[in-house]
């Protein structure tokens, strides 16, 4: 296995408040990697730093061994990104959004196939605003895959979805994993991490608390499932 993402001592503070505090981890090719933590733990900032959207105070983040701040074009032909709570233009239709995103890449995937893969083909001519939460999230994953990426970043993908819609998104992600795509996701749903992730990193107040396979992480705690183990690592009361 080769590491395709490497993060070393990544640190960032805003107005004197340390948001990401010396985080180190790596992601291997073909795995589903989960970055877990409470709201405000620094998950999105870590992704922003890793993607080169923000400049780290110190430390490095590389993708395919390249610094995203200086190799943006090369990296983003091969990496797909879905940002947390992103929205789309008013009045835009699904097919128009797909065409617009396709236009940004040299060799885009046929978007009809992606829509089909995510069971969205019947919405091709619908307005994006009219889709349900689950349909819109599936669309945002489809859009993140439009450049046939080797790595896809999904930030808080299923926040706000009901259980059925969330499971539908999971099913698609599992199929994606079978195809060999590396998936980097952040979530604060432990059930989601347990169902999807090969390896996880838990962060609290910007620092890494633990890392390993889901099984390791549970075994190293006094508890039986990830949710309780997570709360224990976070230093909170576990109520049985």
């Amino acid at each position: 296995m080769n590491a395709c993402i490497e993060v070393k001592d990544l640190t960032k503070s805003f107005n004197g408040r340390v948001v990401v505090d010396g985080i180190t981890f790596h992601v291997e090719e073909g795995e589903v990697f989960g970055l877990l933590g409470h709201n405000g733990a620094g998950k999105s900032t870590t992704i922003d730093l890793l993607l080169g959207l923000k400049k780290p105070d110190c430390g490095t983040g590389t993708i395919f061994g390249l610094d995203p701040r200086t190799n943006r074009k090369a990296i983003f032909e091969r990496v797909g990104v879905q940002l947390q709570s992103s929205n789309y233009q008013n009045n835009i239709r699904v097919d128009e959004l797909c065409k617009e995103m396709s236009a940004l890449y040299k060799k885009p995937e046929d978007y009809h196939r992606l829509l089909q893969f995510f069971s969205l083909e019947k919405f091709e001519k619908s307005q994006v605003n009219k889709l349900s939460g689950g349909e819109r999230q599936r669309l945002s994953v489809a859009l993140a895959l439009i450049n046939k990426p080797e790595i896809v970043f999904l930030d808080e993908l299923t926040t706000g979805l009901d259980t059925a819609a969330r499971r539908e998104v999971w099913r698609h992600l599992k199929e994606l994993k079978k195809k060999g795509t590396t998936i980097f996701l952040t979530t604060h749903y432990m059930e989601e991490a347990e169902s999807l992730c090969d390896r996880i990193v838990l962060i609290k107040d910007g620092s890494k608390v633990t890392e390993g396979t889901v099984k390791n992480v549970i075994e190293n705690s006094p508890y039986e499932n990830l949710e309780e183990a997570y709360l224990w690592y976070m230093g909170e009361e576990v109520t049985q």
């Binding site: 959207l53 992103s86 617009e100 396709s102 940004l104 970043f153």
Partner: protein, 245 residues
């Protein structure tokens, strides 16, 4: 280039789909044109020119006013708020693509507005420009570019959709009503004429009006220099202060 055009075509489709810009930028000046013509079209507004002669250039400028002070800042603020600009950073393309295509869309709206006003004036109202048409187009373009730079500055300095909305209202309506774009400048009392002279659009309209009426223009180079200066300063400041999110 082909990929940029694809992106632009979709943004243009979206711009035409939302009727705001067509209403404020195109239908309104044409409506005012017809209204002015019905009320006072052939009346003399001054020595040797009619109200139609005088208001032609101003109404051509309404499209510029709408796209520069509403279209540009509102679209950019909206896209920033929706993280669309940020998303472009995670693609091989620069966010300049989407900014560029939206500026182009706004330019097309202004052009559409100008063409509609000119078409109705010439074909239905028998308007004939006394001045040089090419020089008029040049003055239109200069006004367009300088006003767009102000719109860009508004988008850069305002951080939220709310503040852009407020600033748009504060800039758009005074410029629309006081610069002579809709209400003929000649009707203002001289005190108000002097006061509204500070509005950049007033200067642009003065220039376009003078060129369209073939009048000897005092201070023409002063106005041109002023508009070029506005463009340079606003562009530099907005590029320096621009925030993607």
């Amino acid at each position: 280039m082909k990929r940029f055009l694809k992106l632009y075509m979709i943004e243009q489709k979206l711009a035409l789909r939302s009727s705001d810009m067509l209403t404020f930028g195109v239908a309104m000046p044409v409506g005012v044109l017809i209204l002015i013509n019905m009320i006072a079209g052939s009346k003399q507004a001054g020595a040797g020119f009619t109200y139609l002669d005088s208001s032609f250039a101003s109404l051509i400028a309404v499209g510029i006013c709408a796209s520069a002070f509403m279209g540009i800042p509102l679209t950019i603020a909206d896209y920033r708020d929706k993280k669309i600009l940020k998303h472009f950073f995670t693609t091989p393309c620069s966010p300049m693509w989407i900014l560029g295509s939206d500026m182009l869309c706004c330019g097309v709206t202004a052009l559409l507005s100008a063409v509609s006003v000119a078409f109705v004036s010439v074909v239905f109202l028998g308007y004939k420009m006394q001045g040089n048409v090419l020089a008029f187009m040049g003055s239109w373009l200069l006004t367009l570019v300088s006003m767009f730079s102000i719109g860009l500055l508004m988008a850069s300095l305002c951080r939220t959709v709310k503040s852009v909305n407020a600033v748009t209202t504060l800039v758009y309506f005074p410029m629309l009503f006081l610069s002579g774009a809709t209400i003929p400048y000649e009707l203002f009392p001289s005190g108000l004429q002097k006061a509204t002279g500070v509005l950049p659009l007033t200067q642009g309209i003065k220039l376009m009006k003078a060129v369209s009426m073939g009048a000897e223009i005092e201070n023409v180079w002063k106005i041109v220099m002023l508009l070029v200066g506005i463009t340079l300063i606003c562009t530099v400041v907005s590029v320096k202060t621009f925030r993607w999110e």
